[in-house]
Amino acid sequence: AQSVTQPDIHITVSEGASLELRCNYSYGATPYLFWYVQSPGQGLQLLLKYFSGDTLVQGIKGFEAEFKRSQSSFNLRKPSVHWSDAAEYFCAVGGNNAGNNRKLIWGLGTSLAVNP
């Protein structure tokens, strides 16, 4: 079965501290992987995506993520968190096979709080 697990429901970090949000997936084929951010009152915004090639991908707002096939993981990282990063973060997986459906399978999200 296709699924995405985000083990941490809620994380609190201090401003300036490093951040790692975990994501594990189960997918029958080679996955496309995504991280989205949802701020209060805002729509979902794509932070970064992985399709192939370099397993370390860079995204917007200083975020990066590393695809580890052996661990079925795609963890999101940021070296120094800013107060404006407080939001809900979602990991999602999609198919890359021709003819495969295009829907994204989503995790439950991780809520990030940032202490000043």
Binding site: V4, G43, L46, F90, N101, R102, K103, G109
Partner: protein, 115 residues
């Protein structure tokens, strides 16, 4: 340019009523998606359009839910005989193409409350 817009932003209705939720995708985007997000959950896929046709409607929970995209642009999600369990934020997204690597751009959502 304009992003994905959804109307209304909030909809309160009574159990058993019929509702329509509208999505205006980004101009030129051929693919359109509907998701539902319940409180504390991630988005749940409902239906995906490529052009005017529903390419995948496997996420529609039952036959009370229906969506159309008659001219390949604006889409309407229709819910008949609403139930309290239908209360959620309904999200619309559009993308330039139908492949998974085409970024999906999301609208702000319509919050549906069924009393």
């Amino acid at each position: 340019g304009a992003g994905v817009s959804q109307t209304p932003s909030n909809k309160v209705t009574e159990k058993g009523k019929y509702v329509e939720l509208r999505c205006d995708p980004i101009s030129g985007h051929t693919a359109l998606y509907w998701y539902r997000q319940s409180l504390g959950q991630g988005p749940e896929f409902l239906i995906y359009f490529q052009g005017t046709g529903a390419a995948d409607d496997s996420g529609l929970p039952n036959d009370r839910f229906f969506a159309v995209r008659p001219e390949g642009s604006v889409s309407t999600l229709k819910i008949q005989r609403t139930e309290r369990g239908d209360s959620a934020v309904y999200l619309c997204a559009s993308s330039l193409g139908s492949s998974s690597y085409n970024e999906q751009f999301f609208g702000p959502g319509t919050r549906l409350t069924v009393l």
